[in-house]
Amino acid sequence: MPVITGVTCPVCGTFCDDIEIIVDDNNRIIEARNACAMGAAKFLNFSDHRIKTPLIRKNGELVEATMDEAIEKAAQILVDAHYPILYGWSNTCCEAQRVGVELAEEVGGVIDNTATVCHGPSILGVQSVGIPSATLGQMRHRADLIIYWASNPWDAHPRHPERYTMFSDGRFEEEDTKSL
């Protein structure tokens, strides 16, 4: 069965890029190796939510259309729009986002994503008091103690401990001294 390697997970900000996707003969994802529970749930359930039969409104009624018709219609809507906002993207893979940015340029629109809402408070904080920050490399290799405040990597970024802190080896670490 085909194995697609080096896949980037689109779920959280950890951006694990070592995901291996196993696809069955019907082009359906049956396994997501290396992914956390949240990432695996994304890959394994993704096809259930996909819209495989697009609907186009004709004379007030939604009728089934082919994918080609739907893309043509969507393109027409974008071309006819004065100032379209291409919004969302937060669960979209990097490759698709890049196409989205190009599309926004083409149609003279604005591209925006959900982080403007969910990270609104973060930006307000950064603007008012600044931001002491560290790279993930610094966390992994140089930090002795990391305090997580108002964040919960166990649940929100499940592979963070494995990749950068508790279950990872720091370059200068002599013994397992990290805790979370």
Binding site: C118, I123, A156
Partner: protein
């Protein structure tokens, strides 16, 4: 009992949202109210007993579960979802994001009330609107 209400992510909320917000995993997780074990004793609550949480912004019935993250007396946790949204502070301070943590509220046993399903919750909101 007066409590501080926190909302946030859990791993099953994260898994469940990918399975669909109508999935059992999602709905089970986001209808739980995680309570300090000592507070559960004080209120004479068993695991999965129904409780009512009320803040200035609304009230909602949830299932009480013992928090594994304690001790955090007088502090309850509810995973993000429509049920948590019923009692969250809509004030965004201009950031676009509601105040999801630190609401003052009350926690009380609600043996005679039921935890609403997603559909019932939406219907209730429609009625209020």
């Amino acid at each position: 009992m007066k409590v501080l209400v926190l909302t946030g992510r859990t791993i099953d909320q994260g898994r469940g949202k990918e399975m669909g917000k109508l999935s059992d995993v999602y709905q089970k997780d986001v209808t739980q109210c995680q309570i300090d074990p000592e507070d559960m004793k004080a209120l004479n609550l068993r695991q999965n007993a129904n409780v009512k949480v009320t803040t200035n912004f609304g009230s909602v019935v949830l299932r009480a579960v013992k928090s594994l993250r304690g001790p955090h007396p007088k502090m309850i946790f509810i995973a993000y979802g429509p049920w948590a949204s019923m009692i969250s502070d809509p004030e965004s301070h201009g950031t676009g994001m509601p105040s999801l943590k630190g609401m003052s509220g009350t926690l009380e046993p609600a043996p005679k009330e039921k935890v609403l399903t997603m559909q019932e919750l939406v219907n209730q909101l429609k009625m209020e609107a």
